[in-house]
């Protein structure tokens, strides 16, 4: 197991380097001159400054100050060195450090993603088990119809419809409530429904397969109660592939938060990134994308490790 973990950690290095390089190159490919952006922001964002209005000396000095006169690879090395120490630059808009802004907004996004995942797992596994137990009946068809619809609903539209029905028409939950669990239910539902559809499908398929295996038939023939067979013997094994998907869905929920936070006007990394993109606040965009991508890679690694831990076959092969 240890050698497996070591090997997986080693494969992570080129991916993380690649992600940092991709995000770094992003900034250099943008059709905007970062020096002009900085000069405009330093002048408190008043009238946009045209290239002719800045002296060549001043422009060159700024380029040198920002390290843009150095070769690209050297710049990348410096960026990497700073990023490792948590220095991702300063936001053009707020002048606060990007790291500060990310750490201030991350808890709200993690809270939303965890709540979305909790709902998705609960709903997905319960529905998947019900569909498997009532295989090929109308209950099964109903759950699968829910699954197809869940996969097809745009999360942002679902969010708007939930606001309309639950908040405005029925008045059951508030639309905006940054504090407390009430304000979290609707965004978590809008975010987690798609994941619950995926989990329900997989739980059903996996449980149906396990329920047809010999050891389950033996357990039944020994006279074990139906519930014990399903929940103690079958479900435990059926959930192994589901764990992988749950982990992968967590990464997707992190990026899904980008949209849901905008719909519900919640604070968080997502809504911050969208604002940064619209205002061309590139250091902030770069930092947020980098942090989200690295979190995703780390979650995937944890998923792989937990899968190896749960599945002795992988452990033995490694």
């Amino acid at each position: 197991m240890r050698s497996y973990i070591r090997r997986r950690l080693l494969t992570l290095v080129p991916v993380v380097l690649g992600v940092t390089f991709a995000v770094f190159v992003m900034l250099h490919l943008m059709p905007v001159d970062p020096v002009m952006m900085m000069i405009t922001e330093l002048s408190s964002g008043q009238a946009p400054i045209q290239p002719g209005q800045v002296t060549e000396d001043r422009y060159a000095a700024m380029r040198r100050e920002m390290g843009l006169d150095r070769p690209l690879l050297v710049q990348y090395g410096a960026f990497l060195f700073k990023a490792v120490r948590g220095d991702l630059g300063r936001s053009f808009q707020t002048r606060r450090t990007v790291w500060d802004m990310i750490t201030a907004n991350a808890p709200a996004t993690i809270e939303l993603a965890v709540a979305g995942l909790g709902l998705a797992v609960l709903l997905g596994i319960v529905l998947g088990v019900i569909a498997a137990l009532y295989q090929d009946t109308w209950v099964d068809a109903g759950v699968m119809a829910f699954s197809v619809t869940g996969l097809s609903l745009p999360s942002f539209w679902l969010g708007i419809m939930l606001i309309l029905l639950i908040s405005f028409k029925l008045g059951l939950l508030p639309v905006l409530s940054p504090v407390g669990w009430q304000g979290l239910i609707l965004p978590a539902l809008a975010l987690g429904l798609r994941a619950s559809a995926v989990i329900a499908r997989l739980t059903r398929a996996s449980l149906v397969e396990i329920l047809n295996l010999d050891y389950i038939r033996t357990a039944r023939s020994k006279g074990l109660p139906g519930n014990t067979v399903v929940f103690k013997h079958a479900l435990k094994n059926a959930l192994i592939p589901v764990v992988t998907v749950v982990g992968l869905q967590f990464g997707n929920l992190l990026s899904g938060a980008v949209i849901i936070e905008s719909v519900f006007g919640r604070p968080g990394l997502g809504s911050m990134a969208v604002r940064a993109i619209l205002f061309k606040d590139f250091p902030l965009v770069q930092g947020t994308v980098l942090i989200l991508a690295i979190s995703y890679v780390c979650v995937n690694l944890l998923v792989d490790l937990s899968y190896a831990w749960l599945n002795p076959q992988i452990r033995l092969e490694s």
Binding site: T149, S155, W157, L164, S255, V289
Partner: protein, 297 residues
């Protein structure tokens, strides 16, 4: 005695035709696949015939009162500028289907090339391609598309490219896996023994045999591309006003949802129906083309 027409057909054409007929027969046995095809046809036809079925031009303002609720004159009501929502939804279908198809064409063709190179050549080519794919996959969900839009600038065409680039990793991985399996088959070994070039082996012998999973993925990915495209437009990174794009219309509708629910509801319904149709058709195609793929999504 005259030779029967079937016997005169070249053997390859006969096999192809009978396989196609078998696929269609299997597809028609699935009620959900038929439902998906019907939904798809309705959405495609309404998009194609938008100039005929839409009672008004999509951008014409002041056709009705602002925020007029659904009525006989305006079936889906009007928006804040008095534009007919039904006409805009009908025309919006053209844009969303275009986004889906063009994005999948970009992602599919790039994925096909990368997957074939990685799977057939193996070695350093495989390693290089797979590491690039790993890096692309490290950007979760819609984030890669957002990153591409940031670089290219927000516009409808850049959005199509962004969504297409986001689809490349999945296509590459599926194609690579299929090529890896196909290249071990006897017919490929035989072609190699006959001295046929690698390019011809891939183009003539491997590609036709890996088309089943590719077609299934391409169909299902049109749905994903439509969802991503509308999401990006919703965030203001795609189509610009007054383009009748479903995501943009939803974004407008969100602000007025309390008093004018119809402005945001109908574009969302159109997206959902289109995506359900494509998903059902894709699921049916998967079962019909290659039942072994069941449960892969």
């Amino acid at each position: 005695m005259a030779t029967p027409a079937v016997a005169r057909l070249p053997r390859r054409a006969l096999t192809f035709q009978s396989h196609r007929q078998e696929v269609v027969r299997r597809l028609l046995r699935k009620p959900l696949a038929i439902a998906g095809t019907v939904l798809m046809l309705i959405m495609v036809l309404s998009a194609l015939l938008a100039p005929t079925i839409a009672p008004f031009a999509p951008d014409d303002q002041g056709i009705g009162d602002p925020f007029a609720p659904p009525s006989a004159r305006h079936v889906f009501g009007t928006d804040q500028f008095g534009r007919d929502v039904f006409s805009r939804v009908a025309f919006g279908g053209r844009i969303s289907l275009q986004i889906g198809l063009i994005a999948v064409a970009i992602g599919g063709s790039a994925g096909l090339v990368l997957g074939c190179v990685a799977g057939y050549l193996s070695g350093w080519a495989d390693e290089t391609v797979m590491r690039i794919i790993d890096i692309m996959l490290a950007f979760p969900g819609i984030l890669l598309a957002i990153a591409v839009v940031v670089v290219l600038g927000p516009s409808l065409y850049n959005l199509m490219i962004a969504v297409g680039v986001g689809a490349i990793p999945t296509f590459s991985r599926v194609v690579r896996a299929s090529v890896l399996e196909a290249k071990e088959r006897d017919y490929v070994t035989a072609a190699r023994a006959m001295g046929i070039s690698d390019f011809k082996i891939v183009a003539r012998h491997i590609l036709p045999n890996i088309m089943a999973p590719f077609i299934v993925l391409a169909t299902l990915d049109v749905a994903t591309a439509i969802l991503s495209g509308t999401a990006l437009s919703y965030l203001g990174m795609g189509a610009k006003p007054p383009t009748p794009e479903w995501g943009l219309m939803l974004s407008d509708g969100r602000d007025f949802i309390r008093n004018a629910w119809w402005v945001g509801t109908f574009p969302g319904l159109a997206i959902t129906i289109t995506v359900i149709g494509i998903n059902l058709l894709g699921d049916g195609l998967r079962d019909a083309l290659d039942p072994r793929l069941r449960g892969t999504r």
